[in-house]
Symmetry: C3
């Protein structure tokens, strides 16, 4: 594997899930693979879970790890050719990326949406430059539009907690929920993409205007009535996102309605009551009593902690496959 | 050992000191113990000695180390239940702590006194939350009220430099000394606690109003006449601290008198002259000619550098014992 | 090797270059040497290439690495004796340096010129204090006046790319080039020093007033006519530097003329046309179309990426020799 961005990059999902369980049973079994190999983790944005879980995964594999924090403000890279660089950008990416690549074997990059304009974010310029100019395998540690390490961990968690009864596959509902700030679409984009590729019955529910980009949600069923969407759900995946700007690009990155008016979208016991005793998932960090009530997130059906713990596993499978491809 | 906070956590002091010497003689002898084990070191506050010595100790033991710097301002954790999290706190500790714990085997935390109010600091809310919610061994890398890695290193240093003559045990004097800023009581609290548990003759001297909390100083002898306290001392341990607020909680964290008036408390040659050729100790960093004069800290009887070097040893004993308890 | 500052510290250059190639062929062959040895890398200033390449080199050798970022503003060290430390400096270097040294085996330090006054920078006070008080091998990761890891990498790159024809040795031209900010002289100082010691025909070209310090350039030929200097060059090494203040100390660290007036010094195709199909070198980061045009830096004769990659090799030779001296 040379790029980890989309669900298609991981290939057959059953094989990937089986490999995840193999890794989880014995996470130190592949240290010959990582011996004298170096992962460079580049953070243009803050990170807690991704930073820790990816370091842990790389060390599990016997790799060396170098973490590089790049203050997005302090280190501005020029990206255009022909520019006279007499301003605040002291280096061109055409030098910076190959140089960083020369000191490592595998590169992970985190770089969030900037919300300046939709096209800039959705063309994934920064990550694509790393893919194009580094000559190394590149994995996305959350980009402007995707967070595949999260979605893979989510899928692992769903598979571990799905106990088939009548239904042949679980009903998974991804629900928008209120939040005081404008958040990116990376997590819901990837979750949708992965669920559509997995063997689940997938439904998305959100207020009108928050339609996700078709490249990620494809033909997924969207149900604007949240309670109706929750009916019979086996897994509820809550997440806020700002307007993706699909129909009105000028609304991209906006919060369409004051969150105080949207508090009926908070996942609470009444919502969960109409589900099939659904498990609750969230990528974290989560704002309690905005996204989800205390009682739901603390209930025995809340999987948020094992879900976060599976971030180590998803990262390790990705790194393992990249090591195998070197 | 699952918690390292108080002197009682280390058990028998003679055994701990013997183990410290064993570790010091061959610090790389326990790498099988730490192999594939990960220490997560979380810094809510700045650190030089603790950061370096604890990393070194963990690596001596063959552990993987992940250092996490948490800007206290940038990452505010909600600690109450029932709150609608629509403010500046984006994560609840009930999620954050178990998640961090899931990526490591042992957790060290540094979090200083905030001086907002005495009760908040003295109940050690942050550290206790890590103990309660992480499910991992937790050691204190200086908290609001204690700095046990320092006190253990101090004790090791005293033992290494005590040459019994007439007295069966050394006289150890902890003296307050002037400083331009308000400092926490963590270091004097722990030093007192450890000295009272050790086989030494312990005396504390400080201006009136700086009485330390009884939970740490217990029945220790307090001598308000500094020169009298120094008479016959074998070890002088200097440290500034702000008002502990024991009798007047409203004075907690205050500097009671302008330091210019207190400069007769600076440890100088005249003070040392009345001792039994005492060794000089300080936890560092130290402000010269405030806490201690150049000539005293540079004298052959100054042990501040080997004392700091013993921070690696105290940390390694603590980590070793925690590894043994996994 | 106990100090790595000047070209003389590396000894015979042919031997050093041969060792560099040996390291490059098998960079993991000396891990017994670094086992259980710790490199402490202290950054008083920002770093990308040096930070990554030196970590990589140390890990290649099997060493443990601790990186310490010291915010120059936040951690001010007192350097004078006799001062009453009641200001903003909370620690004296006489304590700080030996303590840091006690937790490691080898120390690397980066500390740039401050441009406050020439004497302060050129006496290398900070680095010399590490040499004097640490008791450890100390290598310079760019200081106020030198950047020897860069110059060694430059020399390796020149040797790798010199294909003798008529001339018995290559003509190497170091040229000043325009830049919007005042930059230190560390890179040109070291490059000159290393080239003068190497078996090359060395020429320096710069506008009048930018004469480098004689301790570094010695009797090197200076040619003020840039195009004339370029004639027949085999290697062109471009770099901006501010006024070294050799003849007028009051001009130290200044940009003598507005860069807009100096743009004819930018290395472009017309410059390269008069060379002997010269290779282009620059230490990076480089401002395109100020220092060098896009077409020159992107041409097949541009060696800037392999030159940067050789930073790993130069650092590894230095660390290897320091390990051998322990």
């Amino acid at each position: 594997m040379r790029i980890f961005q989309h669900v298609t990059d991981i290939g057959d999902l059953s094989a990937a899930l089986a490999e995840a369980q193999e890794v989880k049973r014995n996470r130190f079994a592949w240290q010959n693979l990582g011996h004298n190999k170096t992962a460079l983790l580049i953070f243009f944005n803050n990170s807690l879970r991704t930073r820790l879980s990816t370091q842990k995964a790389a060390m599990n594999l016997g790799m060396n790890v170098i973490v590089l924090d790049v203050n997005q403000g302090a280190w501005k890279l020029e990206t255009e050719r022909g520019v006279i660089m007499d301003g605040d950008k002291s280096e061109h990416l055409l030098e910076a990326i190959p140089v960083m690549a020369s000191y490592c074997d595998i590169i992970g990059v985190r770089s969030f949406a900037r919300f300046e304009n939709r096209a800039d974010d959705y063309e994934e310029r920064i990550l694509n430059q790393f893919i194009q100019y580094s000559g190394r395998p590149v994995f996305f540690m959350e980009s402007a539009t995707v967070h595949p390490l999260q979605a893979f961990a989510d899928l692992i968690t769903i598979e571990e907690n799905w106990k088939p009864s009548n239904a042949s596959k679980p009903k998974v509902v991804m629900t928008w929920a209120p939040h005081p700030k404008a958040l990116p679409q990376a997590v819901p984009n990837s979750f949708a993409e992965w669920m559509l590729a997995a063997d689940v019955d997938f439904v998305i529910t959100h207020p009108e205007g928050y339609e996700l980009d078709p490249q990620f949600v494809g033909s997924a069923r969207v149900e604007y009535d949240q309670m109706k969407a929750f009916e019979g759900a086996d897994f509820v995946y809550a997440k806020n996102w700002s307007c993706p700007g699909v129909t009105r690009p000028e609304d991209y990155g906006k919060v369409l309605d004051d969150y105080h008016k949207m508090m009926n979208w908070t996942v609470d016991a009444a919502h969960m009551a109409v589900t099939n005793n659904a498990a609750f998932l969230h990528c974290l960090p989560v704002r309690r009593n905005m996204i989800v009530t205390d009682d739901v997130i603390e209930s025995p059906r809340s999987l948020v902690i094992p879900e976060a713990a599976n971030r180590e596993i998803s990262a390790q499978v990705v790194l393992k496959r990249m090591l195998e491809s070197l």
